[in-house]
Symmetry: C2
Subunit: 445 residues, 2 copies
């Protein structure tokens, strides 16, 4: 066996307990926000038929996929690079019998055969939230509010991250008002999407190639970088890029819904947000760290044609994906994660200690299992020592709430119960110990 | 796109909400049992270097693997068919700094490129529980007790499933006592492992080829099928297969530990259990449905050389894996799962209804988000109707605990709160509604 096989493949991660505790902490915020917002969890296969991905995104995506074929097999498969095709396939398969709207979330692992770099790995976890079956800004905002709820639960505020949103219909009208001919709308959107990746002169040359006048290019350039709080009047933004306010009117309803849901302070209009993929049809948004220094935390929007593309009926839909990698980087930068992820691991309710002697040694394994059967998290030492002081130290290191000491009191059917947070100790009958521990651990949580 | 790409690949599953609720129910039992028994959760990559698997199990395993190589890439990868190599690799990588014993669990998805059949899929979930660093029957029983704790939490009893166990050292000594030459011990164990897959005459022929006398073959045949409650004296079992009790003595300590932990009634000695893989070195066990009709629910044992094989130090280890597929079949057969998995989905705390009117319509989205921000699971209708009776019906179908009705009382800053379980209704001030709902939902849980 060569040395490299002793390591995780490039771009993948080993999650030791402290690492996984951080991931579970993030997933718990995702899951609880989804459930509270009325989404049901779904999951699909880790790999799909390769065609599921090439059909929507073209053959170009193949280079970014981990695809494979079994020896002697007939089918090409690919590790899933995103969840949306699986979701659309599942909705399409049961479109006749599912309650409308379909409100689903998923927390699948995803795979991209790209070069690993900051914020981008070959295997990562991505929260997906989708609504299928209802149109309108209220649904779009329902989905965005769910993302915000999870970010709030992780300790983030509008000072840390921002939902940058736009609306494809508004952008198309704006492009028309700027002088982009209708047949070049798609090309212009691609250019908007790539605005931060191109040099200024390259951007100008491509804007020019859209058939814009010199003035049009200048206004297009302004528009591509134009942002404003969603709470600000659209007239101001329209004036800045030299178009009529009415061209942006589809953003009005988004603002009204966001105001009613109380999430206006999280949101900004960003004319440059159009999302790369051609299948978006209405509201589009990305969640970004406020300085813009990191990759997008999340991205999504409305894609009304998607379910139909995967063999289902015509069905409006809206959703987003949020990855764990960039989010964890931001939480770490903001000190919203403990230095050592172990602090997020579940605390033991009881650390059971034998002070030595035949009775204690026989009682210990019985008590451990009895406590566990009562739903308590119970640990003990594997060391040979029966030095109670040393073992109390080990109990403290394990972050146990209580130490249960099996000593001389056992002869009277009792044990010493030490509250390791408060430092207090009392003698407690063995019968009913589980109940006492549970009451106290519950109240401490 | 051809028709097959609209379906999940053969042997994989789409988990619609009711399906995933069942899987999450099983995983919750696994996870809580693991945590209560003092195990920390870990996770690794979904795919590993192919060599990680071929090194331990030989090239033969390649046919059962989904392996792949990226176009232009240099490395062969495989979707993980088991978690133990990843675990051993991770322990080996940090052997010097991990606390001893390492007590880890994982709930990874696994992949086998086999023909799908009852109890066997190409993608499944497998609970893994492992202890590295401590020897002895107490550790073996600690691991077995954790499996039993999860089975208990799922509603199973010793009348439903049984832990069938044995000890490789006892079996080796037994084989010697039956007349198997030492160099054929491995071959004899393979034969024991395959006892149920071979026809009687085939089994006899192979037993004969081990160099046994006619009497030896007959006793070997008896031994291969010999089982006894772990609580029964070993002398009886030894007598039945014609060997001295002392040959089986390593099972004594297992029994003593199982008795102290209070799990003796779950356990039986089964001389035919040796586990196929050559790396087991001590106690071995499988969990089986009591009639033996299904595949094994779980399998594991002691494998003291494993961490060393993956580049780590010499380190004793013991663990097991339990898959979700066979377990769910047994739970379903025993009526321990609801007919419709939806019954396992989280219940909404509140279903918010507008009885119509401008104030109610404006209040509804605000209240929904406010309740969700308070950690309550709040839903509403997407229907246009404002018929409260119909909407109460929808709330009931959604299994909501309470309906919050925004009606005439809103003018006084109040709402109607209907307890959908009890059928009672009262008027409650809007301020403080979240607190009231939470108190009542908590007490109902």
């Amino acid at each position: 066996m060569s040395t490299h096989s002793f390591q995780a493949p490039k771009g993948t991660r080993d999650f030791f307990p402290a690492d996984l505790a951080v991931r579970r902490h993030i997933e718990a915020a995702w899951r609880s926000a989804s459930v509270d917002c009325g989404f049901d969890e779904v999951e699909g296969p880790t790999f799909e038929h390769l065609e599921l991905y090439t059909a929507k995104s073209g053959e170009g995506i193949v280079n970014e996929l981990f695809s494979f074929r079994r020896a002697g097999g007939e089918n090409d498969y690919a590790l899933r690079p995103e969840f949306t095709p699986t979701l659309a396939r599942m909705v399409a398969a049961r479109a006749g019998s599912l309650p409308v709207p379909v409100k689903w979330f998923a927390i699948p692992n995803m795979f991209r055969a790209e070069r690993p770099q900051r914020g981008r790995l070959r295997e990562f976890v991505q929260w997906n939230v989708d609504v299928c079956g209802t149109e309108g800004a209220a649904t779009d905002v329902d989905v965005i509010a769910c993302a915000i709820l999870a970010l709030e639960r992780l300790g983030l505020t509008p000072k840390d991250v921002q939902v940058r949103l736009s609306h494809r219909v508004a952008i198309a009208r704006m492009l028309g008002a700027l002088g982009v001919p209708e047949e070049k709308t798609g090309e212009a959107m691609t250019l908007l999407d790539r605005r931060d990746k191109l040099k200024p002169e390259e951007f100008a040359a491509r804007a020019n190639a859209l058939g814009l006048s010199a003035d049009g290019v200048a206004r297009f350039d302004l528009a591509a970088r134009a942002t404003a709080p969603l709470s600000a009047p659209l007239a101001e933004l329209a004036g800045r890029i030299g178009i009529a306010e009415s061209e942006l009117h589809t953003l009005d309803e988004v603002r009204a819904c966001a105001a009613r849901a109380g999430i206006l302070d999280w949101c900004a209009v960003d004319v440059g947000i159009v999302r790369g993929l051609a299948y978006y049809t209405g509201t589009v948004f990305e969640v970004h760290e406020i300085s813009g220094a990191e990759r997008a935390v999340a991205g999504g929007g409305r894609y009304d044609g998607l379910v139909e593309l995967f063999g289902g009926p015509k069905m409006p839909a809206c959703g987003f994906g949020m990855g764990d990698v960039v989010l964890a980087n931001i939480l770490r930068d903001r000190k919203l994660l403990p230095e050592d992820g172990s602090a997020l691991l579940p605390r033991p309710d009881a650390f059971v200690i034998s002070a030595g002697g035949e009775q204690a040694e026989a009682e210990l394994p019985r008590l451990l299992m009895a406590l566990r059967r009562e739903g308590l998290h119970a640990r003990t030492t594997s060391k040979a020592t029966r030095n109670v002081g040393k073992l109390l130290g080990e109990a403290g290191k394990a972050r146990a709430r209580f130490a249960v000491i099996l000593g001389a009191e056992l002869a009277e059917g009792a044990v010493a119960l030490k509250n390791l947070d408060a430092g207090t100790q009392e003698t407690v009958p063995l019968a009913g110990l589980a109940l006492r521990l549970r009451e106290r651990s519950d109240s401490a949580r």
